[in-house]
Symmetry: C2
Subunit: 295 residues, 2 copies
Amino acid sequence: MLERVETIMKQLVDEVGYSEVSKLFNTLSGGKRLRAKLIFKIASTHKDAPLLGAIVELIHAASLLHDDVIDDAALRRGKASVNATEGSKTAIMLGDILYSKGFSSLVAFDKEIAQTIANSVTALSKGEMMDVAMAESFNDDAQSYLEMLYFKTATLIEAAAKSAALLEGKDADSYALYGKNLGLSFQIIDDILDIVSDEATLGKPALNDYVEGKCTLPYIYLYHDLQDSDKQKLKSLHKKSLSEDDSLWIKSKMKKHKSIERSFSLARKLSDEAVSCVDDIELKEIIETMMKRTF
Amino acid sequence: MLERVETIMKQLVDEVGYSEVSKLFNTLSGGKRLRAKLIFKIASTHKDAPLLGAIVELIHAASLLHDDVIDDAALRRGKASVNATEGSKTAIMLGDILYSKGFSSLVAFDKEIAQTIANSVTALSKGEMMDVAMAESFNDDAQSYLEMLYFKTATLIEAAAKSAALLEGKDADSYALYGKNLGLSFQIIDDILDIVSDEATLGKPALNDYVEGKCTLPYIYLYHDLQDSDKQKLKSLHKKSLSEDDSLWIKSKMKKHKSIERSFSLARKLSDEAVSCVDDIELKEIIETMMKRTF
């Protein structure tokens, strides 16, 4: 089924009618195609599920192209990013083309589906802006961090699940909540892996989020558990390149205060809630696989 | 009527629910709102004309934000560009938000209208990419230059006119052709003004297009009229900062070979064709005002 999505994505990109775009698109590595997989599982019998999956994955690819420009990311899925190899301008333009091709293909669907996906794209662009704004200074508010995660990561997964449910005539709200919680816990696990994995596994330095200014959940939890002097020390390391000693200090404090465990517990709680929304063994498996991933 | 468009644009942006975005949006200068004006003239009695105008202008604003990042433009409509004052990343993110908000508001319209506008956005992103690719080396092919102009500039104006005609139940093809030719001649006039206007009027150095690598129509016409040695000289100046002497040489050669007049004649021919498509005194006036503009 995922092959069908890849084929349709290529067809949509070819329809743009610019060989340079098709060539560039073919160099992108596709990733897990989590959003398309979700759509298949939820709208498994509907003939338009592959098209919807392809559209959502095109939009997701566009958002990653722009994210990598905004974050100056050199790598994406272990490969050099488009902004690194072709320059930021090409990455911006390719992103614009994939976004707009995704949007214009969306018109084939019912208004509620088109609206659901389109709204989520506004939300994810807003989430990216919030993410950048929040990385300017140290943020110790878990609530505003989770709100940003919702917009930046969860909203498109929520929209994918909801629109697939609409397509298949299933209960849209339950699947939307499933998608939202899957997206939130997915990102929390990602944030944890940035701390607990080694550089070889991550394909980037560990604690990279904090170096880039991103106060993810473990840092926020840790901050509130520290004495005043350590609070100041943690803050002083924010957005700095970290020495070996600094990294070890952060990790040992997190170990002591169980910051990773607390973050994982929240991901678990959200996942459990997701699982309770839908009576579907395969969707439960997606959650479990995601919770257990190590990269 | 244009005030109504401004109000709706602000409302749509406020709906995004992020005060930073509203604040940034309010700093943009609106420009001529040519596309919204066209929509009003064509769908003058339809209650949704202001919303359609607002959507198209949001999309146009988004495309300018990204264009200015891609072209490293410091000025937009005589003011510092967003990328110049807030940085490229903010300009990219604001553009993404305006694009996606425009798209998601489009869902309220009939499929044919939504499709028309959405397709034109893919085309304009493709046009921007073609523009950048063509500026890499000297291009002497008028046909491929005009094709790029169509995608980059004319397609959204064509879509605005066509979708307004669809809204009002007028002949879509005639209005589409009007919009296409208006867009093409608008851009040809723009290219001419870059050569004949002075720096004070343009708000940027004259011959700036050529310095940036853009071989506009007058340069293409001139190239084919020159002797071999002058052909080489013109090529050697491409994408270089021009001395006073170089600029004077180009302008004197263009004068001798009537390159500006030939370009203007094509704009005139396209405008006349536009006027012949539609039996509407106000649309004819838009064309005439555009043809006579000096900035």
